[in-house]
């Protein structure tokens, strides 16, 4: 377990999030394709999970008592790969192979090809059902482990998400925490123009969930929400994280066109300057 970082050090967590963003941009530029906007928007959330909240052992990925992370929005694979590399699941050099023919870093996560991936995702709307099944299984085994499932906001347009929302509430899965990366954009534009998903919090509340509404880039709010969720009994929690697509790089922020486009070499240089640090 990465005990060294498993403390509530907001400054350190923000630095981890910054490093995740740097790695995301570098690997995407190298691969020449991939999902930039939605990887950057969830970087703070994933930093809080992998460097603070989740009990996991990078040198023992199948540790029975680990907390589980399901990336339902599988297109944010670069973010997950960066988190796995920076917590020590595999060598950071592997990140440079993203999307290449002989790489285990597929365009969307493949559990058969890469350790640390719980289940293959990429087709939207399926992760929450899987998280429910894991939560049921963990509870049957009397384990304290928790399940975290990251969804996109456009993703909740999928009907299966609401089937799973009913199931989680019906079976009172309080060992489950869903997080919605509410960056307000999907491929074709604003969610409210493509298919209005609001009111998000009222919907989850009506489905029987404990709802926590936060600024998804405020590290203190993120860790507070994750801590609060752990204490909620008898029902699942959803954290609606209000985020900005492309967060951290001014010229990517709030732009739907950077949903599925990688930075150019020139854009990478400018982005790394904005993100600061040594950029290694």
């Amino acid at each position: 377990m990465n005990q060294a970082t498993a403390m509530r050090d907001l400054k350190a967590l923000k630095e981890h999030a910054r490093q995740l963003r740097v790695e995301i941009l570098k690997m995407l530029t190298e691969s020449g394709s991939g999902h930039t906007g939605g990887s950057l928007s969830a970087a703070d959330i994933v930093a809080a999970l992998y460097f603070y909240k989740m009990r996991h052992r990078p040198d023992d990925p199948k540790w029975r008592e680990r907390d589980r992370f399901i990336l339902s929005k599988g297109h944010a694979a670069p973010l997950l790969y960066a988190a796995l590399a920076l917590t020590g699941y595999f060598d950071k050099g592997l990140l440079r192979t993203l999307r290449k023919i002989d790489s285990s870093l597929q365009g969307h996560p493949s559990s058969k090809m890469l350790k640390g991936i719980e289940v293959s995702t990429g087709s939207l709307g399926q992760g929450l059902s899987i998280a429910n099944g894991i939560a049921l299984g963990l509870r049957m085994d009397g384990l304290e482990s928790r399940v975290y499932c990251l969804l996109g906001d456009g993703e909740i347009e999928e009907g299966q998400v609401w089937e799973a929302a009913m199931t989680a509430a019906h079976y009172r899965l309080d060992n489950l925490c869903a997080i919605i990366d509410n960056n307000g954009l999907q491929i074709d534009g604003l969610c409210c123009d493509v298919m209005n998903i609001e009111p998000i919090t009222a919907k989850w509340d009506a489905f029987g969930w404990n709802v926590i509404d936060i600024d998804g880039h405020d590290m203190e709010q993120i860790v507070n929400a994750l801590d609060e969720a752990e204490g909620i009994k008898g029902r699942p929690t959803v954290i609606v994280a209000r985020t900005v697509k492309g967060k951290g790089v001014s010229f990517f922020e709030g732009k739907a066109e950077y949903h599925g486009i990688a930075p150019t070499g020139e854009e990478l240089e400018r982005a790394l300057k904005e993100l600061g640090g040594d950029g290694r």
Binding site: S120, Q126, N132, A135, L136, G137, Q160, T167
Partner: protein, 326 residues
């Protein structure tokens, strides 16, 4: 010869394969505490209700939401459980096809999809509930194993065999009672066909309820002096290529028989083997690229040409008017 009782099979022991499943699942649940069962509001019809009554803490009714059921089953398997997920064949394989592909097969999860109400013998409920495409839908997904038991005896063995096998499996069962056709000493193995007899004049490769019809056809034709073989191809994927090649070499005329579309199911799978490995004439008995309809199971089998009579007719026609030299 239509509708007459089968003398070649033990009609007295008729049991629907779904009933055999319910019993086998209950026994399996008694033996193994890692077995969990999911259903989508059809546990009375799929017969998973027996397991639910005995082991309520290991049974999860997911409601009328097949896609969610598949994902939940996948999640349970990730915690080391052995999930059996059941509903009607068309809803399991059709409604949740992409969930089966993405979540179950692409991750190669150890989930057993056991669907009932395959084929037209669903009866009066009609086309919406009659799966005629499910074998094709499951066969095309990488890493999926597809099994269609012929009778209650084989169903029980299939359930136990798939429980021992690690990986995704689709088992297709039926609603209506079927006679016992497999010999008492038969032992099912995944990927191994059972050859009742290899014929010199024609060989029938059948699956599911059509094995009984094939045996009846063989009996009639034998009395007329024709040597006709019968193979029960219960595992459709991976198909027993050796059994198909042996049949093609012995007679050069194969008739496939299945309660499924002639496209993409057993007939398609057999054609793929013979066309690449040992060319032979293949006549496909099945539903001919159309939807089902309401009616009694026996009426429907006659309406869609899925009887022993239809198999006999296909063999005789192929022998009288061979499309190619046999």
């Amino acid at each position: 010869m239509e509708g007459k009782p089968l003398s070649a099979v033990k009609a007295a022991q008729s049991i629907a394969t779904r009933d055999a499943y319910g019993n086998a699942l209950l026994e399996l649940g008694r033996r193994r505490d890692d077995v969990v069962v999911l259903d989508a509001d059809l546990s009375g019809s799929t017969k998973t209700g027996k397991f639910a009554t005995a082991f309520p803490e290991r049974f999860f009714n997911i409601g009328i939401s097949e896609q969610d059921m598949i994902g939940t089953a996948g999640g349970l398997s990730l915690t080391g459980k052995l999930p059996f997920a059941s509903t009607f064949a068309i809803f399991e394989t059709g409604r949740a096809w992409e969930q089966i592909r993405q979540t179950i097969c692409y991750s190669r999860l150890n989930v057993k999809l056991v669907a009932t109400h395959g084929g037209i013998t669903v009866g009066e409920d009609g086309a919406s509930h009659q799966a005629l495409e499910d074998i094709a839908l499951m066969r095309v997904i990488p890493d999926m194993t597809v099994i269609v038991p012929a009778d209650g005896l084989e169903t029980e063995q299939v359930i136990n065999a798939v429980a021992e096998y690690s990986g995704p499996v689709y088992v297709r069962l039926g609603r209506a009672k079927v006679p016992v056709v497999m010999p008492e000493d038969y032992r099912f193995r995944i990927g191994k066909a059972y050859t009742f007899h290899t014929g010199r004049d024609a060989n029938i490769i059948a699956t599911g309820i059509m094995v009984a019809a094939a045996l009846e056809a063989r009996q009639v034709l034998e009395a007329e002096g024709l040597d006709v073989g019968v193979i029960n191809m219960s595992t459709i994927k991976p198909i027993d290529e050796d059994a198909v090649i042996t049949a093609a070499e012995a007679s050069g005329l194969i008739v496939t028989a299945e309660e499924h579309s002639i496209i993409g199911g057993l007939g398609g799978a057999v054609c793929e083997v013979v066309s690449e490995k040992r060319p032979a004439i293949v006549k496909r008995i099945g539903v001919r690229d159309e939807f089902g309809r309401s009616g009694k199971p026996d009426e429907l089998l006659r309406f869609y040409g899925l009887t022993a009579f239809d198999i006999i007719k296909a063999i005789k026609e192929a022998r009288c008017h061979p499309p190619l030299k046999l």
